[in-house]
């Protein structure tokens, strides 16, 4: 599974990085990030692109999200 690391990136870089991987046709993605704003934004983007979002880790300053199509 391809991994996208968006930890510590300011807006809108987390979304751009994830979108890039999506546009390259990734069926399965693991996105790791730190801020709750980036978690919300990546979640929104993935849902709007038709991915199933599974939040596998949601700690303070540390989240991991599995995206599947």
């Amino acid at each position: 599974m391809e991994k996208v690391d968006v930890r510590g990136l300011s807006c809108p870089m987390p979304v751009i990085r994830t979108k890039k991987a999506i546009d390259q046709g990734a069926k399965e993605l693991l996105v790791v990030g730190s801020s709750s704003v980036s978690r919300e934004n990546v979640n929104k983007l993935a849902a709007s692109c038709g991915y199933q979002v599974n939040l596998i880790k949601n700690e303070e300053s540390n989240w991991e999200m599995e995206l599947k199509k």
Partner: protein, 368 residues
């Protein structure tokens, strides 16, 4: 429309309405809330510049930082972080203020000016869209100022809020340390700096807007950016809400006066209105948020954003000390000739230099 979008729209409506109410209560016209103007007034209040018409310790700014701090503390989002090209961000803050003071307002005031019927603000808005578009171009190319790190200590997160609380203490106390030179706080006797709503209302408005903007992540450059980048209109709804909220109350109070000139604290030099907000739009997009968003982030513990805020305050001092800030257009009055308004030659040079510098940063901070 989902819940988030409704909340965003309602937040916008509330902020627009609050801004006009602050004007009704005494703030300068079409300037119920302006992050750039108020940070400039704070720079004057602490004597960093001596432009005697724009000096006041604005409680709105203090309230927004503290409001964002309290809200993020309750939401578990208050975290000390930073280290993403901090000094570069500081300098970008300086240039963002130069752009704002060539136009005479931040993106928030641009919306409020449009809602007051100021057509010059529409010219600025077009510049802002192009500026954000240029920023998006750099972002797509791989622009990145680097990752921020979460700190092992929360101490850093409190630095700017504590400074703001100290400023508020000075405002309440009113002590003069240095009777010959004045200060620590300077107060305008005339001009926009002498116009302010009662302290309690200004502070309450700041706290409330700080709360709303923290929860919704409201960002004016982000509104245009997300629309251009991923066709998402959530943040844009906040923008539209502010416009409608302010427009309705402006009409109700009789503040709505459509036209190019003369508009309050504004000038009709189209090219500089365009380029001023072009510079702000491009810089804000590369920084990840408009002046309002930077203020909110600084309340949440983002020390990089706090550097942008301080950069903007220093930038305001630079603008007024070096005659870079634009003058407002004024009609002739008894004993005073008409003033054309607009930036002088130094303001024009600084604005163009700013665009070149930020574009160079945009090119050079490309990540492979």
């Amino acid at each position: 429309m989902d819940r988030t979008k409704w909340f965003m729209l309602v937040t916008g409506l509330a902020i627009g309405a609050i801004a006009v109410i602050l004007v009704k209560l005494g703030n300068p016209p079409n300037m119920g809330f302006c992050i750039a103007c108020f940070e400039r007034d704070i720079a004057g209040a602490i004597g960093l510049h001596r432009a005697d018409v724009v000096q006041y310790m604005r409680p709105e700014i203090i309230g927004m930082v503290l409001g964002a701090m309290f809200t993020s503390l309750f939401a578990g989002e208050f975290k000390s972080r930073g280290g993403s090209a901090t000094f570069v961000r500081f300098i970008m803050g300086v240039f963002m203020m130069i752009g704002a003071l060539v136009f005479l307002g931040c993106p928030l005031r641009d919306v409020l000016r449009m809602a007051g019927g100021d057509y010059n603000a529409v010219v600025g808005f077009i510049g802002f869209i192009f500026g954000v578009g240029t920023g998006v171009f750099f972002l797509k190319r791989g622009f990145n100022l680097g990752r921020a790190e979460y700190s092992h200590s929360q101490a850093g997160a409190y630095v700017l809020p504590v400074i703001m609380a100290f400023f508020f203490f000075l405002l309440l106390k009113g002590t003069i340390f240095n009777p010959q030179a004045g200060g620590p706080l300077f107060f305008s006797a005339k001009g926009p700096g002498s116009m302010f709503a009662p302290l309690a209302f200004s502070l309450a408005a700041g706290l409330l807007v700080g709360f709303l903007a923290q929860r919704t992540r409201l960002c004016l450059s982000g509104g245009i950016r997300d629309f251009l980048l991923i066709q998402d209109n959530t943040l844009l709804l906040g923008f539209i809400g502010i416009f409608i909220g302010a427009l309705l109350l402006n009409i109700y109070f009789g503040f709505f006066k459509p036209g190019f000139a003369p508009q309050p604290v504004a000038h009709p030099q189209h090219i500089w209105n365009f380029l001023g907000l072009y510079l702000v739009g491009m810089t804000a997009t590369l920084l990840g948020g408009c002046p309002l968003r930077q203020l909110i982030l600084s309340g949440e513990g983002d020390t990089d954003a706090a550097s942008v805020v301080v950069g903007m305050i220093v930038g305001a001092a630079v603008c007024h000390n070096f005659a870079i800030a634009a003058g407002a257009m004024k009609a002739a009055a008894a004993g005073a000739p008409a003033v054309a308004g607009g930036p002088g030659i130094y303001g024009q040079i600084a604005c163009v230099v700013g665009i070149v510098v930020i574009a160079l940063l945009g090119f050079m901070f490309k990540e492979e």
